[in-house]
């Protein structure tokens, strides 16, 4: 079996006050493994230890107890960073630089030769859709644009492991969708992605496996599909048929025969995100179109698995 990209053993972080007294247990004996080529999600409410875990993996914090390895190297070994790309929650980039200068700067930190830096910078600027704004200083960028250039800097070294802290935070639905698609693309390119988020729908959408933390303790850990599967319930979808009282009655009878009960039946609804995106796409396709009160916008399609 391949060596995990990230492995923690009893990883613990306790913050101390000035006098060395225990102030807060941020993480307690965390044991997780992240495998190559998967999208791994860290979930939990605020203060649960998600960001602390990421900071420990990156060497921004030192563990109080336990250990963690990233691609077989200790987290305090800076050489591990050669294969890591990191996007923090907020874009902590230098706002007096423009997009090109930013990528050139971070490229130099990876000791990339000038030709590689220039090529990758241009590719990434195009990939994150900032081609027209590459000469503007970042102070003039919107939050979404800063998040895009932040992601570009995380990819400048063509990393094997990408760590994303709240990647969709502060992004509009379009931006969030773009980010999620890009994360999936990264996985398809063979990269491993660790992301933490408290936007559950994002995590459910794209993560293969997750770990749920609460007050520094690992509460749940495994494949998303396994964790969410409810074996005591059955869901079915049907097409080419209309919902009528007769159909509902027949269904109830069938289920009773099998020892079950019909809880709900009705027409499915799409997600608000899908609906919003469709409206925007339609608006782009037909400029000048206005919504009139009473008009049914778009077409309700059954919500399907994406």
């Amino acid at each position: 079996m391949a060596e995990p990209v990230v492995e923690t053993q009893k990883l613990t972080k306790i913050f101390l006050d000035f006098w060395g007294r225990k102030k807060k247990v941020a993480l307690r004996a965390l044991d997780i493994k992240v495998n190559q080529g998967e999208i791994f999600g860290l979930l939990g409410p605020n203060g649960s230890g998600k960001t602390t875990t990421i900071k420990l993996l990156l060497g921004l914090l030192f563990p109080t107890e336990g250990r963690a390895t990233v691609m077989g190297k200790s987290t305090t070994d800076v050489r591990k960073n050669e294969l890591i790309g990191y996007l923090p929650e907020e874009s902590y980039l230098y706002r007096f630089l423009n997009a090109e200068e930013t990528l050139d700067f971070y490229g130099r930190l990876f000791d990339l030769p000038a030709s590689v830096r220039v090529r990758r910078s241009q590719e990434l600027i195009e990939r994150v859709g900032l081609g027209r704004d590459k000469k503007r200083q970042l102070r003039e960028y919107s939050k979404g644009m800063r998040q895009r250039i932040g992601l570009a800097q995380a990819l400048i070294n063509d990393p094997k492991l990408v760590i994303l802290d709240e990647p969709t935070s502060g992004l509009d639905p379009l931006g969030a969708r773009w980010m999620k698609d890009l994360i999936r693309d990264l996985r398809n390119e063979g990269k491993t992605v660790i992301m933490c988020s408290h936007r559950l729908e994002d995590v459910q959408d794209i993560c293969d496996r997750i770990a749920i933390l609460h007050e520094g303790d690992l509460q749940s850990y495994g494949h998303v599909s396994d964790l969410l599967k409810d074996t005591m319930r059955v869901e079915m979808r049907a097409s080419q048929v209309k919902l009528t009282p007769e159909l509902e009655k027949d269904l109830r009878e069938v289920l009773t025969r099998h020892g079950g009960t019909l809880d709900t039946v009705g027409n499915p609804t799409t997600t608000l995100e899908d609906y919003f995106l469709r409206i925007v796409e339609e608006s782009k396709a037909r400029p000048g179109r206005r919504f009139l009160p009473g008009e049914q916008t778009g077409k309700n399609e059954p919500a399907g698995k994406k």
């Binding site: 913050f15 102030k23 807060k24 941020a26 602390t52 900071k55 990156l58 060497g59 921004l60 914090l61 030192f62 800076v78 050489r79 960073n81 050669e82 890591i84 990191y86 923090p88 907020e90 902590y92 980039l93 230098y94 007096f96 630089l97 200068e101 700067f105 971070y106 130099r108 930190l109 990876f110 000791d111 800097q153 070294n157």
Partner: protein
């Protein structure tokens, strides 16, 4: 401070004098020998340096071992562990010395302590046998290497591209954050300074040089301290540092990159300001000022001693508060004793002097009058130049023989070349604090080139010719000029000298920038700024601190002073011999011991200021500058090591 005082005092004196009495005023008050590279790289200097740095590194090793323990070492690779263990064991003598020194510092608090019988720690250190100091220096080196080991192991991984990237970022950051606006202050001084700077025509260059350097120093040092103190803390606060340390960047690369970036910017600014300052000073120079200061005298100094003053090392004390000069009177102190003399022995003379027809000797003495004398008339002094081959008896016989044979008297050149003797005039009149000069025949230097090795090549003897007056002199008040005086005013040499003074300022900028940067790796921006400036200022006032350490400050140490403040005792009065007073004075002794130890860690700031040289038209020695540069870099290396460890050991992220 002292050169500044000297200038103020002298300027005050000049103001009260008739302008006609100021043909020249080239006084360079020095209380130290210009540094030489051999003095800085001398084994004793290196050993002292190793012992000083080693005392801290060995203490750090001890504390690290006590608090972190062997567990940390056991995580190292086998090779590193072995190297660390060997170096750690070799450091043990220095650890022992640390413990011994700490115990010695507190000895005034021990029972049965007798200040008369117990030598202070610094004195007892000087009394150690040489071989013990050599062994300790070796141990100190081991402890320095042990502390530097992580850095040395990282060394092959350092990348200039990364350092340059961070340097470029720091450079851009400073420019785009409009730091350069601070220098408009200097522009204002240059634009409108002339309205407020009074100067006599002969003082024009001196005053302008002082003002320009003062402004440059204040603005550049403040900007460098601000830039360096806030760079890393701001990055930590804004979390921009997260994105740097999560790249394959060694922490020391951040430190070096920041230092390189700030120093590049400040160097560029310094070059521009030096150019602008020179243009400002050199526009419309009056002939008097050009004659006075538009040059770079290269003095050759001798060693001063006295005869018939009671002490060979000191002249008479006339009660001046500032005891820089020793005095000789015009008459014997006691009947039968000889006339007091000030004698300069010139042990090293540049060979170029022997090739010149004449060599200029310049002198600047102080007059202490016991009678009013004649208004606007100077005091007469006698001056004789002799070489190591001079034989008074031989010269007397030659003169007598010539008289008998009716031959013409010996010419000045003959006297100098054959007999090694030159006397300019029976009496030379000079004026208080003004520069006099004598043209000495070059033949005298030819004569001095060979002769008995046990005698100095040239001896200059000065006597006072007026019995009611005293003439005061310090070692640096008399010198031969190595530079060619026939060229007169020389704007090019002056400009180069001005640039060399800027290099001295550059070293001070380097000092402040590095200190602030190193401190900012652990402290907040404001605290780093204050501590860096405090250390710099302490370096500026080393003289006062030394006086405090050796107990020469009126009123005693801090606790004794506090006690006097409370009990309303005057400073000059001896404290009563009570139990409380003994505790106070002995605690002060402990504090003084610690302060004495602390003084080893203060920077040499005074010797990096060369304004006095330029303003008075004296050449700044290249060796002096180079030696100071070596000393400054050597001083900063342990600080950089401290910064490296502080940045390496700290968690750049916090709980949130």
């Amino acid at each position: 401070m002292v050169p500044f005082m000297a200038t103020s005092m002298a300027t005050g004196l000049l103001d009260s004098m008739n302008p006609l009495l100021q043909p020249a005023f080239a006084v360079l008050s020095l209380e130290r020998d210009p540094l030489t590279i051999s003095r800085v790289l001398d084994w004793y200097a290196i050993r002292y340096y190793l012992l000083t740095v080693g005392s801290v590194t060995s203490l750090c090793l001890l504390l690290w071992f006590l608090f972190r323990g062997w567990k940390q070492v056991s995580r190292l690779s086998p090779g590193t562990k072995l190297a660390f263990t060997i170096l750690g064991l070799l450091s043990l003598p220095m650890v022992g010395l640390d413990i011994f020194s700490l115990a010695q510092f507190t000895q005034p608090l021990w029972p049965n302590y007798d200040p008369e019988k117990t030598a202070p720690a610094a004195i007892s250190a000087m009394m150690r046998p040489e071989w013990i100091n050599d062994v300790l220096a070796f141990s100190a080196l081991a402890s320095i290497l042990a502390v530097s080991l992580p850095f040395l192991l990282n060394l092959p991984r350092l990348s200039f591209r990364r350092i340059f990237a961070i340097a470029k970022l720091s450079f851009k950051e400073a420019i785009r954050k409009r730091v350069l606006y601070a220098f408009t202050g200097l522009l204002l001084i240059l634009l409108f300074g002339s309205w407020f700077i009074p100067s006599k025509s002969s003082d024009q260059i001196r005053t302008y040089v002082t003002v320009v350097f003062w402004a440059m120093t204040v603005i550049l040092l403040m900007v460098s301290a601000l830039l360096a103190a806030f760079g890393i803390p701001a990055d930590i606060k804004s979390q921009s540092l997260f994105l740097i340390v999560t790249k394959p960047v060694e922490r020391v690369e951040i430190l070096l990159g920041r230092l390189l970036g700030y120093m590049s910017l400040l160097t560029l600014i310094l070059i521009v300001l030096t150019g602008a300052g020179l243009l400002y000073i050199l526009r419309g120079v009056s002939p008097e000022a050009a004659e006075e200061s538009l040059k770079a005298r290269a003095p050759v100094y001798g060693i001063l001693h006295y005869e018939n003053t009671g002490s060979e090392r000191e002249g008479d004390n006339v009660g001046r508060e500032w005891a820089y000069r020793g005095y000789i009177s015009g008459s014997a102190a006691t009947p039968g004793s000889g006339q007091p003399k000030a004698i300069w022995d010139f042990t090293v003379l540049p060979s170029v002097l022997a090739g010149r027809p004449t060599v200029t000797a310049e002198f600047t003495f102080d007059i202490y009058r016991t009678t009013k004398g004649f208004e606007n008339q100077g005091v007469g002094i006698g001056m004789a130049f002799t070489t190591r081959n001079y034989d008074a008896e031989k010269l007397r016989l030659e003169r007598e023989s010539r008289d008998r044979e009716g031959k013409p008297a010996l010419t000045t050149d003959e006297l100098a070349e054959k007999f090694g003797y030159f006397q300019p005039a029976a009496s030379i009149t000079f004026y208080d604090f003004s520069t006099g000069s004598v043209e000495v025949p070059g033949k005298l230097f030819v004569n001095a080139q060979t002769g008995p090795e046990d005698k100095p090549p040239i001896i200059v003897t000065v006597t006072c010719k007026e019995i009611t007056q005293y003439v005061g002199m310090a070692r640096y008040d008399f010198y031969f000029r190595e530079d060619d005086t026939s060229r007169g005013a020389d704007a090019l040499r002056f400009s180069w000298n001005f640039a060399k003074a800027s290099m001295g300022l550059w070293l001070r900028i380097l000092l402040v920038t590095t200190l602030a940067l190193v401190l900012s790796t652990y402290l907040s921006g404001v605290v780093s700024l204050l501590v860096a400036l405090f250390v710099f200022m302490l370096g500026q006032f080393q003289e006062f601190l030394l006086a405090l350490v050796i107990g020469r400050v009126a009123g005693g140490g801090p606790l004794e002073n506090l006690s006097r403040l409370i009990t309303n005792e005057v400073a000059g009065k001896q404290l009563e011999n009570t139990a409380l007073n003994n505790v106070i004075m002995n605690t002060d002794r402990v504090l003084r011991e610690f302060l004495g130890g602390l003084m080893n860690f203060l920077p040499e700031v005074q010797s990096l200021s060369f304004t006095e040289y330029v303003s008075n038209g004296f050449n700044i020695g290249g060796a002096d500058l180079a030696a100071n540069a070596i000393r400054t870099v050597a001083y900063l290396l342990p600080w950089l090591l401290l910064g490296y460890h502080a940045l390496r050991e700290r968690e750049v992220a916090g709980p949130t």
